[in-house]
């Protein structure tokens, strides 16, 4: 029944990490490991997806994610077409399915989809031809599976194992597709304690049912953590009566060196970017020795290469 897997268990689409088996996640991470050296070579290319056409369908503006997908596809020798639909056909009133049908008629092999609505990638996946794979590059508040995977890749690189970790996710979990994907990945990979920390206005109803422990106090939530993942706080959240001010938020939920000291001494600090320095994270922490924020970006390319290679290349998971 999982629309992401073929009857024989191979990855058909990547729409969410919710419900994917641990073996699938581990296989993607292992495959990413094998692509790590490609970016360090003089000729940064492998011929795995030569002749394949990958379309970046971005119904919502994004520079970072789109660029990393584009680099990943090009390193696999695929032909990449970027469509910034937020400013083109959608404004002309073209229906989303018409856009998808037209691109399918151009013999696309893969769609990388970003959309402001939760479930948009599922919707497109339901309507594409059988040979086309869909990768969710972020849909509404729902999922950002490649970001979740690259975060797991980062944790594995720095911490080795998952089974003995305490991981805290701090901030606006309510609006965060990244946090949802991280939570599903962490619980699937066997992290025994996943914590979410934030004010009640920024935590989703019934979040405990995702398998996390809830904290409203940073000191208690960070105590003994191995990994601290900070989430971006979007400015518009200030206007919706969820928070009184950025200053007050930073005072109680911003990551400062003092608060980080409550975690384990070798704890790593992560952030999906882009950061609001002085709002959710202090510069001393973002640029400090425990920060692994820039390696996350680097690993993102290898992880996206792995996902695309497994999908378009049909490699077994």
């Amino acid at each position: 029944m999982n629309p992401q897997l073929t009857p024989d268990g191979r990855l058909r689409h990547l729409l969410t990490l919710d419900g994917l088996p641990r073996a699938t996640l581990t296989h993607i991470l292992d495959t990413a490991e094998s692509f790590m050296d490609v970016g360090e070579r003089e000729v940064k290319k492998v011929p795995l997806l030569r002749g394949k056409s990958i379309f970046n369908l971005f119904f919502e503006p994004s520079t970072r994610t789109r660029t990393t997908f584009e680099i990943a596809a090009k390193r696999l020798s695929a032909d990449v077409v970027n469509l910034n639909i937020a400013t083109s056909s959608q404004t002309k009133g073209e229906a989303i399915l018409d856009t998808v049908d037209n691109l399918s008629a151009m013999h696309a092999d893969m769609f990388i989809v970003r959309h402001s609505q939760s479930g948009a990638a599922h919707f497109i996946a339901r309507h594409v031809a059988p040979h086309i794979s869909v990768v969710n590059a972020g849909d509404g508040r729902h999922a950002h599976p490649t970001q979740g995977l690259l975060d797991m890749f980062t944790i594995r690189r720095f911490k080795g194992e998952f089974h003995n970790l305490t991981v805290a996710i701090v901030g606006d979990v309510l609006h965060s597709r990244v946090a949802r994907s991280q939570i599903h990945a962490l619980t699937t990979l066997g992290v025994p304690e996943v914590r979410v920390i934030g004010p009640k206005t920024l935590l989703p109803t019934g979040v405990e049912q995702l398998g996390v422990k809830v904290f409203h106090d940073m000191a208690a939530g960070l105590a003994g953590c191995d990994v601290v993942i900070m989430l971006r706080l979007q400015n518009e959240r200030m206007k919706g009566a969820r928070l009184p001010s950025a200053q007050e938020y930073f005072k109680f939920f911003g990551l400062t060196p003092e608060k980080l000291a409550l975690a384990k001494p070798d704890a790593i600090v992560m952030h999906p970017g882009p950061m609001n320095r002085g709002v959710e994270i202090a510069s001393e922490v973002a640029d400090g020795p425990q920060s692994v924020i820039l390696p996350q970006v680097t690993y993102g390319i290898a992880v996206r290469m792995a996902v695309m290679a497994l999908l378009a290349g049909g490699a077994s998971t």
Partner: protein, 424 residues
């Protein structure tokens, strides 16, 4: 035209009648049997079939005027007849809304000249449904409105609601209200619970219903207004209405068939056919609805028939238009609930015949001698599958598409005429 319906299981929930018997119809009315002198123009063999009053549906959107691309009066009247419905209430959320007597008269006139059920418009409570100025309720009542409602349009001003209740109470008019606090529901598209949190769908808390209900019930106590609460969706909401009834408040309520069978758990997969108003709630709420229907805390079941253009559903969940087509599924979904809950057939049929007729205050929903000959004859065992071809409605936007159903209408008689007859 004289019609003789032979050997059916005649169930009349209003009178408690449940027996294998014949039914006689003459001059549009049910008549007492007088076999030797009754010469029927048409005899219907109802052996093995149930003969009951024509169904009364408290919410069927006919989409005219203004939304003919979604459905037409012709298509939805036909669909209602195919569903065994002989009387229906249509909400005023058309374009323009039913806020003027001329519009109501036009709708009634057009409906009267088409085959199909009796149409009872529910007038707009406020002009243009804007929630600011009251409509001419007395004029609208004279034009044929049975009650007044905002449908799903917001009414943010509690003072306007108070005035509407006071004014309606002056004349004894009834208000049909959907209990939803607009500000608490703002931006939401799914029940605010674990499933919406998992799927990243903005939530509408159960509080949006209970806070609005508390306001409505308190205003009722102050004004003495009679209120019908449409489409309740939460366990707490039903409990509040039950308590209000126990205190003697003149309040009734209904639920939609979708909410009897579906819950937030069905949203996994983001099927836009499940985008409904109110949202599908938790299993706990759904189970409370199922119990409340059995014990009478909820007065009636309705289809909340909302045909939507296919293009408006072929988009991501949050961008889709809410609503489901359902007038043809009212009977089979009621029967399904009754089977699953071990509810006797007469009790189940009461929820879609005499009880809604009582709420609408119309002479319908019964088979007593002298009553209008509005009759539904159905095969309770017939199995069929819901497909766009098997539905007469122009809207095939139902979450039950491709689902098997048990129970199918064979004949619908309205005013003593056979308005629908299935090809078996």
């Amino acid at each position: 035209m004289k019609i003789h319906i032979k050997n059916g299981r005649v169930i009349d929930p209003a009178s408690g009648r449940d027996e294998i018997a014949d039914l006689f119809i003459a001059a549009g009315r049910i008549v007492t049997s007088d076999a030797p002198t009754f010469h029927a123009n048409r005899t219907i063999d109802a052996s093995g079939l149930v003969v009951c009053p024509g169904l009364v549906d408290l919410s069927v959107r006919l989409r005219e005027p203004g939304f003919e691309y979604k459905a037409t009066l012709e298509s939805e009247m036909l669909a209602a007849a195919a569903g065994g419905v002989t009387s229906l209430a249509c909400p005023p959320d058309t374009d323009p809304p039913l806020d003027e007597p001329g519009l109501v008269e036009m709708l009634k006139f057009r409906a009267k000249n088409l085959p199909g059920p009796r149409v009872y418009p529910v007038g707009a409570l406020t002009q243009k449904l804007e929630g600011k100025m009251l409509t001419e309720m007395a004029e609208l009542t004279e034009a044929g409105c049975r009650a007044f409602t905002q449908a799903d349009a917001p009414l943010t001003d509690t003072l306007v609601l108070l005035r509407a209740m006071e004014y309606a109470a002056t004349f004894g008019f009834r208000l049909w209200l959907r209990a939803q606090d607009v500000t608490l529901a703002r931006g939401g598209i799914a029940h605010d619970g674990a499933i919406a949190s998992r799927l990243g769908l903005p939530g509408i808390p159960a509080l949006a219903e209970t806070v609005a209900l508390a306001t409505i019930l308190q205003l009722m106590r102050e004004t003495g207004a009679r209120v019908h609460l449409a489409r309740l969706s939460t366990r707490e909401g039903i409990a509040m209405v039950q308590a209000a009834k126990a205190q003697g408040l003149a309040v009734t309520c209904d639920v939609a068939t979708t909410h009897v069978h579906l819950s937030e758990n069905d949203l996994v997969g983001f099927d836009s056919h499940l985008h409904l108003v109110p949202p599908l709630r938790s299993l706990r709420d759904r189970d409370a609805i199922r119990e409340a229907l059995r014990d009478g805390a909820v007065d009636a079941l309705c289809s909340d028939h909302t045909p939507v253009d296919e293009d408006e559903k072929q988009v991501p969940f949050g961008e889709s238009s809410p609503g489901a087509s359902g007038v043809e599924l009212l009977l089979p979904l009621t029967l399904k609930w009754a089977r699953e809950m071990n509810v006797p057939l007469p009790r189940a049929l009461a929820l879609i015949t005499c009880e809604p007729a009582r709420i609408l205050d119309i002479p319908a929903g019964e088979l007593a001698a002298g009553a209008n000959a509005d009759v539904c004859i159905f095969d309770a065992q017939a199995e069929w599958v819901v497909t766009s071809k098997s539905l007469a409605s122009q809207g095939d936007n139902t979450p039950f598409l491709n689902h098997p159903m048990q129970g199918r209408v064979r004949y619908t008689l309205i005013d003593g005429h056979i308005d629908f007859e299935s090809a078996r």
